[in-house]
């Protein structure tokens, strides 16, 4: 048999084998048997040197044709088999997508700090910085420098925790001391006025202490966010505008604010701020005790005495200060029914926020 006929037969056999291959592995066996190192077709290619010169062109052509045909067939068959095998593999890998996924437990922020973060962001946006102050204060920073000297009647408004004074100084009132747990974050105002250059735009969130037995609506330790602005040309209108903006940011744009004249030793004029009740929208309900309003902060223009004591000229500068209760916001915004939950560390409470 002539070589060309042999080649023709080999080609036909190989194409049949390719068509018959059911898996990519079987197909690979066919390829190796024909085109591998010691494959049949490879043998012809290698032995071209022994083919007589005059036949060489024709045989060469036949070998090449056979190789091209086989390679094409292999390629085509492989594509078909690959696709089928991929489908089969994916079929086998299908899952019940309603099974639970793999979740990384992420921890939660405490509600109070969450509110402090939120309020801080609002004030950062308004151009304020954040300050801190000590929780154990001297009488000077908590009262005196805030225009409430010893025996000032406003002092009996707050029940103060007094701390053993280890310096040996004696207090004028029995059972009291020159060192105390701060009853308000307002002392930070004084630190800021003493330590910072003007203008001042600052808030000071922090823990404060009052001698109240813990019950659903009182805690002996809670949080305030103090604010202080001192600059040229600050007006009572600026105070109103700022707090109105902040209240709307916290509680929602539909809420209203109202300013009630009040008294604080370190601001004058002073006011308390109410936000309209979110339940009854001002009609009066149980939440707001029928008034339509919820008290949320105290504020006022910085008293000139406070500015003067810290070396700021009240004829040139004016300012405003405010303080809001963070737990109060927690109650109003998140309906926390019992403030003591904030200090229990109950995982089922903490993980809600």
């Amino acid at each position: 048999m002539a070589i060309t006929e042999e080649l023709s037969a080999l080609r036909d056999d190989t194409l049949a084998a390719i068509a018959a291959a059911g898996t990519t592995a079987a197909l690979e066996e066919v390829r190796v048997a024909v085109l591998g190192k010691s494959g049949t077709l490879t043998g012809y290619l290698r032995s071209m040197g022994q083919v007589p010169k005059e036949e060489r062109a024709a045989v060469g052509k036949a070998v090449n044709e056979a190789r091209v045909a086989v390679e094409e067939a292999l390629g085509a068959r492989k594509a078909v088999l690959d696709a089928a095998e991929l489908d089969a593999a994916m079929d086998a890998a299908a899952v019940d997508v309603t099974l639970p996924g793999r979740v990384q437990q992420r921890g939660t922020r405490h509600l109070i700090n969450g509110i402090i973060d939120e309020v801080s962001e609002i004030f950062l946006g308004l151009g304020y910085s954040v300050a801190e102050g000590p929780e154990v204060e001297t009488d000077y920073y908590n009262f005196e420098a805030l225009n409430a000297p010893a025996d000032h009647p406003s002092r009996s408004m707050q029940d103060t925790f007094y701390v053993l004074d280890r310096s040996g100084d004696a207090a004028r009132v029995r059972g009291e001391s020159d060192v105390l747990l701060r009853t308000q974050t307002s002392g930070v105002q004084v630190h800021c006025l003493e330590d910072q250059g003007l203008p001042i735009y600052v808030i000071a969130p922090g823990k404060v202490y009052r001698r109240d037995v813990a019950d659903p609506s009182h805690l002996p330790q809670f949080h305030q966010i103090e604010g202080l602005v001192v600059d040229e040309g600050i007006t009572f209108g600026d105070l109103k505008g700022t707090l109105d903006y902040v209240c709307k940011q916290i509680f929602g744009p539909e809420r209203k604010t109202r300013f009630r004249a009040h008294y604080f030793p370190f601001t004058e004029p002073s006011a308390e701020v109410d936000v309209s009740c979110g339940i009854c929208h001002g009609e009066g309900c149980r939440m707001c005790k029928g008034t339509g309003w919820l008290e949320i902060l105290g504020c006022g223009m910085v008293d000139p005495n406070v500015l003067e004591m810290s070396g700021v000229d009240p004829e040139r500068y004016s300012g405003f200060a405010f303080g809001m209760g963070v737990e109060r916001i927690a109650c109003l915004k998140y309906n926390v029914p019992d403030l003591r939950m904030l200090l229990e560390g109950d995982m089922r409470f903490l993980r809600q926020f």
């Binding site: 304020y128 954040v130 280890r166 020159d178 109202r258 009040h262 004029p269």
Partner: protein, 816 residues
């Protein structure tokens, strides 16, 4: 303060709309804490006409009466009062009435006789103290008329919160003035007319011969006046007087005491009535001395309490003994009693600070002390005393002894202030008319005059307003009465402000984020602690300072400030476990306190602590439940180290005696760049048990300040590798005592520049295969050069050198 609107309306027109009045009061600075309507309690109480009155058949003192109550058929009532009689008119509480004290009137039977109501005494109606019998009404009382209407009892009493700067508002006349300014209404001050009812007292001066007043220290008592009223008959007050003091919140006691209270409520001037005879000495002269109390001086106040005084306090005394605690409370043995015939009436003013301190030191707050500590004006005292004496004589049948002793050592003068209108308007951010300003200040009692400068008003503040000391005080007055709601809202216009977070704040935020990313939930616990907390935790107190002690703690469990956050967190673990929550992951960042002898204020440090109990979560279909152990705690700290880019982080094993609170062998100290950051470990079972915890707890506590200090927030860029790495795995068999840290140190130093990473991937122990007391540590070593692809020979050479050094240094053997 309780303000009866009926009473108030004698001095100023009170708006009929109580709700609107309350709103206006609230907005102008007088908080309304309660609104009480009296007279409503007397529904179903009417004027009745007794038609018949027969003795009760089964009682020797009761009567059965029929009463016409203006509702058709007369009703039958059983009555026990002795003065009941046919023909009289009486208040009758019909069925359905509820009398003061929540007495409900129902149809009942008394010893077999039906009773459909009750004939009332004054006291049963809560009016006065007369309980002797039925209240017999005048004959012209209309039968069937509601008693509240007939007696004009209907009243509204406001409970007002008077801020400490407004002593003037602690009086009816002061509130009348306030309403006058609020509503631009005229005010009718009764003082002059009341004083005028005592025209004779200035004629003679009999008092001067019988009473002397000596004020030892004028700084304690700016003015002291005394008058004497003779032939007093102490007895019940007239109805109008009892009604007034009751409406103001006091109890009607007797005519003398009620007059002093009436004047106090009316003018804000505390008075004290002494039994004159108890003050008079052997020579017939009453010597009143205002002096400092002696150290330890004993005194019994009229509430019967024995007090021990200090020199800070002021007493009213005779030469023999103290008779009153000045400005706070009278003494038991000189008070007016039923047989008192002569009254010495004190009207004085005492220094604010000492009164406040006395009141706070003794825990004794009275209507008097409340007013004195806010400031009582010395100027009108003589006139008020005159008015009071006149009234006292009228209601007690007494006569006023002519003359007054008046020691006026320090006179308060009105303050002259200026009011710069443009500055005021600029500071408020609104144009408030000059006319309004002048009018409202005048209504508040100021004298307002024009000056050469049209922009400036000359204002003289009245002496009854001690709070009006400066121009700004006047601004507040005008603003609150103008209405804060009328000021347009603006934002500060300064271009100079920028909102920034400091580096430290950002680092603390990153610490918080990292802990939460590690699955820990932030909590807050009490800053208070129990003194035994550290001992209970077995935490060495070294370096934690002395505890900060509270002088007035709420309870023993919260009597000091915490020195560690851990005890609070352990209480929360216990709280959760007790409620069936087994998986607890908590952290808290907060302040701890360290006092030191001789130092006034303690050091405050920020700490962050965490506790892990149970596991991160329950087992799931695709995830086993892995209980927390030491390495979970350490892993949290390693995450922090990575996120904060802490330099040279080391964990040093803590010896058992260094960390008694931790389980031996599972305790480590975290260091960064040689500085101690904190500790981590599994809690010692005994410490856990002391907090009622019976499960393993992994705990850490770090110094937040040290973390912030060590953090390297800005990290320089390092080239991303451009050439491939070569990984070589090696298992080293070493003695148990050889630590991972030691092996890594050896490998790192021996590996040279080519060794990029050392990763432990297995620890294997087997007595047979590895040997007793030995462990096999399997490491994956990564070699790489930054500038070329490493050849096989280079890696083999470096690795062989590394192995040789490690073997030599640690006695390790390479496991085949």
């Amino acid at each position: 303060m309780r303000v009866s609107l009926k009473w108030l309306s004698e001095y100023v027109d009170v708006p009929a709309d109580v709700k609107a009045l309350c709103d206006r009061l609230d907005l102008t600075g007088t908080g309304v804490e309660g609104v009480e309507k009296t007279g409503e309690a007397f529904d179903h109480v009417v004027v009745g006409h007794v038609l018949t009155c027969e003795p009760h058949p089964d009682s020797d003192h009761m009567h059965v009466v029929t009463v016409d109550v203006g509702a058709g058929e007369p009703v039958q009532i059983v009555c026990g009062a002795p003065n009941i009689a046919a023909g009289i008119k009486v208040p009758v509480a019909c069925v359905g009435a509820v009398l003061p004290g929540d007495v409900k009137i129902k149809k009942s039977k008394l010893r077999g006789q039906v009773s459909c109501g009750m004939c009332c005494s004054q006291r049963e109606l809560g009016m006065g103290s007369d309980h002797a019998g039925i209240w017999v009404l005048p004959d012209d009382a209309p039968v069937g008329a509601p008693i509240a209407d007939y007696l004009k009892m209907g009243d509204t009493v406001l409970d007002l919160e008077i801020t400490p700067n407004r002593p003037d508002c602690l009086s009816m006349t002061g509130m009348a003035r306030e309403l006058g300014a609020m509503y631009q209404e005229e005010v009718r001050d009764p003082l002059v007319a009341m004083a005028a009812r005592l025209p004779e007292v200035t004629a003679g001066d009999d008092v001067a011969g019988t009473v002397t007043v000596e004020v030892a220290d004028p700084a304690r008592c700016a003015r002291y006046t005394a008058r004497v009223i003779d032939n007093v008959k102490v007895g019940p007050s007239p109805d109008w007087l009892a009604e007034r003091v009751t409406a103001a919140g006091a109890r009607s006691i007797n005519n003398v005491v009620d007059v002093t209270n009436y004047i106090l409520f009316l003018f804000g001037q505390p008075l004290h009535a002494f039994d004159y005879d108890r003050l008079v000495g052997d020579d017939g002269v009453a010597r009143v001395i205002v002096r400092a109390a002696g150290e330890g001086e004993a005194f019994t106040t009229l509430d019967g309490t024995d007090r021990v005084l200090t020199p800070d306090m002021t007493v009213i005394a005779t030469p023999e003994r103290a008779v009153a605690l000045a400005g706070v409370m009278g003494g038991l043995d000189s008070e007016v009693e039923d047989d008192t015939a002569t009254v010495l009436l004190e009207a004085a003013t005492f220094e604010r600070g000492r009164t406040s301190r006395t009141s706070r030191n003794l825990g004794l707050i009275s209507e008097s002390s409340m007013r004195y500590e806010r400031g009582v004006d010395d100027n009108p005292i003589d006139v008020i005393s005159q008015a009071a004496a006149a009234l006292l004589a009228e209601v007690s049948g007494g006569t006023v002894r002519p003359g007054v002793v008046d020691v006026w050592a320090e006179r308060t003068l009105p303050r002259a202030l200026e009011f710069r209108i443009p500055r005021f308007c600029a500071m408020m951010g609104a144009d408030i008319p000059r006319d309004f300003i002048a009018d409202v200040l005048a209504r508040l009692g100021c004298e307002v005059a024009v000056t050469a400068d049209a922009d400036v008003l000359a204002v003289t503040a009245p002496t009854f307003r001690p709070d009006l000391e400066r121009e700004i005080d006047l601004y507040e007055e005008v603003l609150r009465l103008w209405g804060m709601d009328r000021i347009p809202a603006t934002l500060p216009g300064s271009p100079k402000r920028v909102g920034t977070r400091t580096e430290a704040e950002r680092t603390v935020a990153l610490v918080n984020e990292t802990l939460r990313a590690a699955g820990l939930n932030e909590t807050m616990t009490y800053s208070f602690a129990e003194p035994a907390d550290l001992e209970r935790l077995r935490l060495p107190a070294e370096g934690l300072g002395e505890p900060v002690e509270l002088l007035n703690p709420l309870n023993a469990e919260q009597s000091v400030m915490r020195q560690s956050i851990v005890p609070g967190l352990l209480r929360s673990v216990s709280y959760n476990l007790a409620r069936g929550v087994a998986d607890v992951q908590l952290y808290e960042a907060g302040t701890v306190f360290a006092a030191a002898e001789g130092r006034k204020k303690p050091k405050e440090r920020k700490r962050v602590a965490g506790v892990l109990a149970g596991a991160m979560g329950d087992a799931a279909w695709n995830r086993p439940r892995v209980p927390f152990d030491f390495f979970d705690g350490k892993g949290v700290l390693e995450s922090l180290a990575r996120e904060l880019a802490l330099p040279k982080v080391r964990f040093r094993a803590l010896a058992p005696d260094e960390a008694l609170h931790l389980q031996p062998g599972r305790a480590a100290e975290m260091m960064a760049d040689g500085a101690v950051i904190g500790w981590v470990g599994e809690l010692h079972p005994l410490a856990a048990r002391a907090f009622d915890i019976e499960v393993p707890v992994t705990v850490f506590e770090l110094d937040l300040g040290a973390l912030v200090k060590a953090a390297r927030p800005a990290r320089p860029y390092v080239d991303v590798p451009a050439f491939p790495p070569v990984s070589v795995d090696v298992a080293l068999v070493v003695d148990e005592g050889v630590t991972h840290e030691r092996l890594v140190q050896c490998m790192t130093s021996a590996g040279g520049r080519l060794l990029e990473d050392v990763r432990l991937f297995d620890v294997y122990r087997d007595e047979e295969r590895v040997g007793a007391g030995k462990k096999s540590m399997a490491y994956s070593l990564t070699y790489r050069a930054p500038d070329r692809t490493l050849t096989g020979e280079e890696v083999e050479k470096a690795h062989a050198r590394l192995i040789a050094k490690v073997e030599k240094a640690t006695g390790a053997e390479v496991r085949g």
